[in-house]
């Protein structure tokens, strides 16, 4: 797995050079081809279809390395790798249909809540529904859709469909991770073979249908703990990337009024110190979290791990915010990489998995012995 991370580091300068273009025009097919060739999308894919079946620590590190240079690319790789883990948890016939001919097929999934229905159609299903702001549909061949209801069942279902079978609509969007090209999607009466629809609890729970007996980690254990940590490495990476870009720019920067070297201002020096401390403390917690996920977190540690994750994200967000705030008018220029990292991390940090409110209070409840509301 070190080779794969080394490849990511090797590819990073090229991705950094393209990051501005990626942000304004989207991830290009050439970039996707390079990422595919590097095997990044297959990081968590089961070995049965030639995947690397790597540990989640490698997944987090890959997101971090790519996040340092290009948030949108990091997001696409992380999302596709995570979706490949989910497909590896599906039944063998489903995996065979998706990867039999093309084991490199790219898969995405929805993250914001949408809704759809599965209606019986003989031995298959007919799927209809809509999901807002789904990323990666322009490059993915397949998409996993969540939040489905199924006649006669009270549980939530998921299904995987071909992106060619759904409608996508572009939306006006000025936030971060623009290169991902978030689109609203609609599925209208799409035929889904029974192997490609499943109860969410079966897909996400321990010992899913696609797992080899006794397997652990992202392919065999309950998946939520991994899904919840899919963004934290990327968030830390974005902050580290912003820090690197900021220091490079600031070493050479001269104030617009007065023509002084900005690097000589004490407050600039001091805030850089604070920012570095933010990143180092975040990194220390991240290393603990990563090691825990590599080993397999015991259930009694998950609430504390989630608190750490929210804390890491907060440190990273505050670090980038502090840096961009010191850049004057250039701080808002879209061509400024620190501004891009800022937009990206602000967007990533809104994910519930990184929510300060949710995870701080939950830890407090655990510590004080207050039961969770049902």
């Amino acid at each position: 797995m070190e080779n794969l991370l080394a490849d990511a580091r090797h590819l990073a300068p090229e991705l950094a050079a393209k990051a501005r273009q990626t942000d304004s025009q989207g991830i290009t097919p050439e970039t996707v081809a390079a990422l595919k060739a590097a095997g990044f999308f297959r990081l968590l894919q089961s070995a049965r279809h030639g995947g690397l079946a790597a540990g989640f620590d490698t997944y987090m590190e890959l997101g971090r390395i790519l996040g340092r240079v290009c948030g949108a690319t990091a997001w696409l790789v992380s999302t596709a790798a995570d979706a490949a883990a989910l497909v590896s948890r599906m039944t063998p016939p489903a995996q065979e249909e998706i990867w039999g001919k093309d084991p490199d097929a790219l898969i995405t999934r929805n993250h914001l809540r949408g809704g759809g229905t599965l209606a019986p159609a003989g031995a298959a299903w007919r799927l209809s529904g809509s999901w807002p702001a789904v990323g990666g549909t322009n490059h993915a061949e397949w998409i996993i859709l969540d939040d489905l209801t199924c006649a006669g069942d009270t549980q939530t279902w998921c299904a995987i469909v071909r992106t060619a079978e759904i409608e996508t609509t572009e939306r006006e969007y000025f936030g971060g991770l623009r290169g991902v090209a978030f689109r609203d999607i609609t599925a209208d009466d799409v035929m889904v073979p029974s192997a490609r629809a499943m109860r969410k609890a079966d897909l996400f729970g321990a010992n899913p249908p696609g797992a080899d007996a006794g397997s652990e980690g992202p392919l065999g254990s309950a998946y939520d703990i991994y899904a919840e940590n899919r963004l934290v490495g990327m968030a830390l990476g974005m902050a580290e990337g912003a820090y690197a870009d900021y220091t490079t720019i600031t070493r050479a920067r001269v104030s617009g009024i007065g023509g002084q070297s900005v690097a000589k201002f004490t407050h600039v020096q001091s805030r850089l110190g604070e920012t570095h401390a933010d990143l180092k403390s975040a990194e220390a917690l991240y290393d603990v979290l990563k090691a825990g996920l590599a080993r397999g977190l015991p259930p009694e540690s998950t609430i504390e791990a989630a608190r750490d994750r929210a804390y890491i994200a907060r440190r990273a967000l505050e670090a980038v915010t502090r840096l961009v705030r010191q850049m004057g008018a250039m701080g808002i220029a879209e061509a400024n990489p620190v501004q891009r990292h800022y937009r990206d991390i602000r967007t990533v940090a809104t994910d519930e998995s990184l929510s300060w409110d949710v995870h701080m209070a939950r830890f407090g409840r655990q510590e004080l012995g207050v039961a969770e509301a049902s």
Binding site: R113, G175, G176, G258
Partner: protein
């Protein structure tokens, strides 16, 4: 909206009238805000409506059909407009206030801009690159590139700043926009609709009467004071500078808090964002307290400016620094109020472009402006308190 053309109305509108007209425009500005951001400029229709409503005449001299309102009128109008669109507010409040600059210049320059009671938007270009300003018979010849010219797409005139060869002082040069070209280099996150693009001038002649040194423009009794009697044209302009930024800043802050409250009202009480949640309650109260404090501080700031200028009183040195400090602090209060709320929102509000995101982007853009730059202003204010030399010349002057 029923608006009488400014030139056909015999009695000029009061500030309350203009605020009412601005308020009436808010819904349509809000409707257009996403397009304004995408197009990186305010629409022609919006500009026409602004002119029709007389919203750019608050500092236009009465001799030219203007209203000669008190200092601070623009801040109140801008604050209201920002509830719909901060970029539009910026054009009216910040760019629009440049009328006072022209009204302090020579009567001939004023005739060029406003003769017959014309409407005019006057942009400025202060950040210059590769500029050459050579004296020529009867004036100067200018070439160069000036950045951050807010509203330049709709401006009729532009004040470009620079130092002529053989001089050490900075001057403003007033050009009709027909004589310069616009370079579309404005790609930003926040305040995108201000269209603050660069302008290029190439060997353009400017007559001397349309130039004025920055010192003379800002000092008491500039050339225009001979014909325009309001204190806005005759009093020292230095203590006024920068205040106009607070109109759109406070307005955007208020608008974001209002959006947050609307989300709470719309909540069915089941999600994370609901008024029964204690963390939400704390944050809302903290943020409304900050906006409330910012409102009062801005009111005090403008009242103090009006007091000194209206009475033609000298401003003590300590008060000069206090005006800058309070301006900077007001901006920070507004930003902090909104940043707290934004950090509390769910992913859907960012991906689905809830309007609060735009208000936050705009506020983020505005607080990066040099006029409210925390480090520069606060360090200079402290130096001024101890009588030390500062980077703000007005603090050092006697």
């Amino acid at each position: 909206m029923s608006v009488t053309s400014p030139m056909t109305k015999s009695v000029p509108p009061s500030l309350d009238d203009l605020i009412a007209r601005a308020t009436a425009m808010v819904p349509v500005l809000e409707q257009r805000a996403a397009a304004t951001e995408r197009d990186r400029t305010v629409s022609r229709a919006t500009m026409e409506e602004i002119h029709d409503a007389g919203l750019l005449r608050y500092f236009q001299p009465k001799r030219f059909g203007g209203y000669e309102m008190d200092w601070g009128a623009q801040v109140q109008i801008g604050r209201v407009l920002a509830h719909g669109c901060a970029s539009t507010s910026w054009l009216v409040c910040v760019v629009g206030s440049h009328s006072a600059y022209v009204a302090r210049m020579s009567p001939e320059a004023q005739e060029d801009v406003w003769s017959g009671g014309k409407d005019a938007l006057i942009a400025t270009g202060s950040v210059a690159r590769n500029v050459s300003i050579e004296p020529a018979p009867g004036g100067f010849v200018l070439s160069g590139r000036w950045s951050f010219c807010s509203g330049i797409d709709h401006a009729d005139w532009v004040l470009l700043r620079g130092t002529p060869a053989g001089d050490s002082r900075q001057y403003y040069f007033l050009f009709p926009c027909s004589e310069i070209t616009i370079e579309d280099d404005w790609h930003v996150s926040g305040m995108s609709g201000t269209g603050s693009k660069s302008v290029l001038a190439k060997d353009v002649f400017i007559p001397a009467y349309r130039t004025l040194s920055l010192t003379d423009l800002m000092s008491p009794n500039p050339p225009g004071a001979a014909v325009n009697k309001h204190y806005v044209y005759s009093y020292n302009f230095r203590p006024f500078a920068g205040t106009a930024l607070l109109g759109p800043i406070l307005g955007a802050g208020e608008a974001a808090v209002a959006q947050f409250m609307a989300m709470l009202e719309a909540s069915d009480g089941t999600g994370r964002l609901n008024i029964h949640d204690m963390q939400t309650q704390l944050r809302l109260s903290e943020s409304t307290a900050e906006i409330g404090a910012a409102t009062l501080l801005l009111q005090s700031l403008v009242e103090r400016q009006q007091y000194y200028a209206g009475g033609d009183l000298p401003i003590p040195k300590s008060e000069r620094a206090a005006l800058v400090r309070d301006r900077t602090f007001t901006a920070r209060l507004c930003f902090s109020a909104v940043e707290r709320l934004i950090s509390h929102l769910d992913a859907s509000e960012i991906y689905l472009e809830h309007p609060i995101q735009r208000h936050f982007r705009d506020l983020s853009g505005m607080v990066q402006q040099i006029g409210v730059n925390w480090d520069r202003n606060m360090t200079n204010c402290a130096k001024a308190m101890f009588g030390l030399h500062t980077d703000i010349p007005y603090f050092n002057a006697d």
